[in-house]
């Protein structure tokens, strides 16, 4: 019954979703999909890890080597997506912190960074507070604390920190000011700050910062509907680093969301899954299957995602996405949503909690959380879509209509499957 309904919906959606004029051209990026060639970066990072690990085995009290091992492990995690490297990096740094008598602020910052990557923001916060009390590298600590406070929903403190290191000449300030503006819902202004940061990174000729800023601009141009610029910046990223999977993922999204070219999006994702086997790509593949009306495949992919992302090595990294896939297990969805609110009490996490209440037939509770903790606290289209669903369940049709208008402006970011649902309102 349910499936029939879904197929019916898909048919309606397909008939009214005419593909946009294509922006992407496979000739621009197909060279980056060839995974047969060995990734030189992996080889170098492995050599680096072996070099310092061997030295550390020979002299297990040379703690400086632990930082080098952690750096190599972090790099290997970035390149391969294999979570064991991230856990190893954290262990290296924890050991270094312990062995040096908890006296090094830079070590605490490095440890905090692995916690941030692992979405363990409370642990990261603890490390940064220790780094701050030690003192060295005060401004670096303040900047990282800003990042963590934004994830912990402590926006007043984040704002205070942002002011404390304000400097329009500083790349690291500009990208954080941009994040703040985006949080406030002012995405155009956020992009303007990223553009200033881009100029700094180019002036500095800093490859790492250029990769970061180009790929983030790829995302943000997408958020404001400038798809061509988004595409152009993903390509700029790949020109510097042909293995930069994040940019290829962005190009897959353009193919799917903008051009409705599911075959091409799938081709890119298949290459990505080979080169960088992380669970994330399964979610986009399941969305594509959903769009194509292949509900069986959609559900299979979701199951695989749940299985892989539930690997204890990931910790709470994928909780937000797991909550979203627990429709057959409402109790588990609620449990995970509660955990996510504790780990990361942001409006987005409260939205997951509200949605989980709705799934558990507690529509009044859902409405209460949505109105108190989500609405006007976040401007993320995804979160507002959930609020619209909750209004609909509570029979508040006028509010739904109001949100629907705005959601349609974010069609590209939401993607065609979600837009189909918005159209149902």
């Amino acid at each position: 019954m349910n499936r029939l309904y879904m197929i019916l919906l898909s048919a309606i959606a397909l008939s009214c979703a005419s593909p946009e004029k294509p922006i992407t051209n496979p000739d621009d990026y197909s060279q980056y999909l060839n995974t047969s060639g060995e990734n030189e970066k992996i080889k170098l990072a492995e050599e680096e890890l072996t070099f310092w690990s061997d030295k550390f085995s020979e002299s297990p009290n040379q703690y400086a080597y632990l930082s080098k091992m952690a750096a190599a492990n972090n790099l290997l995690f970035d390149i391969t997506g294999d979570i064991k490297y991230l856990n190893n990096a954290r262990q290296n740094l924890q050991m270094a912190v312990d062995k040096t008598g908890e006296s090094s602020a830079p070590l605490y910052r490095a440890l905090a960074k692995t916690y941030i990557t692992h979405h363990q923001f409370r642990e990261a916060n603890d490390c940064l507070i220790k780094a701050d009390s030690l003192g060295e590298g005060h401004e670096a600590t303040q900047k990282m604390l800003f990042d963590v406070k934004m994830e912990l929903g402590e926006y007043d403190e984040a704002k205070r920190l942002l002011k404390s290191f304000q400097s329009e000449d500083d790349f690291h300030y500009l990208i954080r000011y941009s994040k703040w503006l985006d949080y406030q819902g002012n995405t155009e202004a956020a992009v303007a700050q990223l553009e200033l940061a881009k100029a700094k990174a180019e002036l500095m000729k800093n490859e790492g910062l250029r990769l970061w800023i180009y790929s983030n601009l790829g995302d943000f141009y997408g958020h404001i509907g400038k798809i061509e610029k988004s595409y152009e910046h993903y390509l700029k990223t790949l020109e510097i680093d042909p293995h930069y999977h994040y940019a290829l993922k962005g190009i897959a999204w353009i193919n799917f969301s903008h051009e409705k070219n599911t075959a091409e999006a799938s081709r890119i994702l298949a290459a990505l899954e080979q080169a960088h086997p992380v669970p994330d790509y399964l979610l986009l593949r399941s969305e594509i299957a959903d769009f194509n009306g292949d509900i069986e495949q959609k559900e299979d992919l979701e199951k695989t995602f749940i299985q892989l992302a539930s690997n204890p090595a990931y910790g709470d990294m994928y909780n937000a996405y797991l909550v979203s896939l627990m429709e057959t297990n409402p109790a588990k969805a609620l449990e995970l949503a509660h955990r996510e609110v504790i780990n990361r009490p942001t409006p987005q996490s409260y939205q997951l909690l509200a949605s989980a209440y709705l799934l558990n037939d507690q529509k009044e509770k859902a409405l209460n959380v949505a109105e108190k903790e989500v609405l006007e606290k976040t401007y993320e289209p995804k979160s507002l879509l959930a609020v619209a669903e909750i209004y609909a369940a509570n029979g508040k049709t006028a509010k739904v209509a109001e949100l629907k208008k705005e959601l349609m402006n974010a069609a590209y970011e939401l993607g065609p499957v979600v837009v189909r649902r918005v159209n149902q309102f």
Binding site: K99, L325, E389, R421
Partner: protein, 216 residues
């Protein structure tokens, strides 16, 4: 009625799909680079005893495999400071700054203003520039105005059992080992070396010197 509500709930949850990952921005890049970290500073009489040699090393603990991709940061100036009047305020500086594979040296020359803020002294009469030696090549040197210059990767000349010292400071050891471990053995640094005539440095026998890494 109940069913449709349930469907809506499912939709609300499932809506949080890939899109959010696409919008979930990558962690911010590392806030502190290490390109301006001075690992060591040396000043000694040259092979030609009329000259003094200044050495600054940056970016310590480079493994051989990491050395090939290590480079000088174009936003970082290495500035040797020379006080020849005994007040610990620099009277002369030698500035080293990389551009497009070359290291440019300006000075010894009077600094525009002494202290933490500097401009490049482009009008200095003492100048020399040298190609930065690539990893794996023989040392490339250059000379001009009686000065000699080098920039590129070298073996880290520093030796110290830093691990045991850390143990002692942390209260985990009471003394050094009979045979210490050189923490820096087998590792490289990025070196800047400049040799200048003593006569260009002034003073009457003793100079106070130090090196700074200055960032744009």
């Amino acid at each position: 009625m109940k069913k449709s509500m349930k469907f809506l709930a499912v939709a609300a949850l499932a809506a949080v799909g890939f899109g959010i990952i696409a919008a979930d921005h990558i962690d911010a890049p590392a806030v502190q680079g290490t390109t301006a970290d001075i690992t060591d500073y040396y000043a000694f009489q040259g092979e030609n005893t009329s000259n003094l040699v200044f050495v600054a090393n940056v970016q310590g603990l480079l493994s051989p495999s990491a050395t090939g991709s290590a480079s000088f940061d174009e936003n970082v100036m290495v500035e040797f400071n020379i006080d020849n009047t005994g007040d610990n305020v620099e009277d002369l500086v030698i500035q080293a700054i990389p551009r497009d594979g070359k290291m440019y040296f300006f000075g010894p020359v009077a600094p525009g203003t002494p202290g933490a803020t500097s401009m490049v002294q482009e009008n200095a009469t003492n100048t020399v520039s040298v190609d930065i030696t690539p990893y794996g090549s023989n040392a490339i040197t250059a000379s001009n105005n009686g000065m000699m210059a080098f920039a590129g990767p070298r073996d880290d000349p520093f030796f110290f059992d830093f691990g045991k010292f850390t143990d002692i400071l942390a209260g985990n050891a009471t003394g050094f080992d009979a045979n210490g471990t050189d923490t820096f053995a087998g590792s490289n640094v990025m070196s800047v070396v400049i040799e200048v005539p003593k006569s260009s440095l002034g003073g009457s026998g003793t100079l106070n010197t130090w090196v700074e890494a200055k960032k744009k």
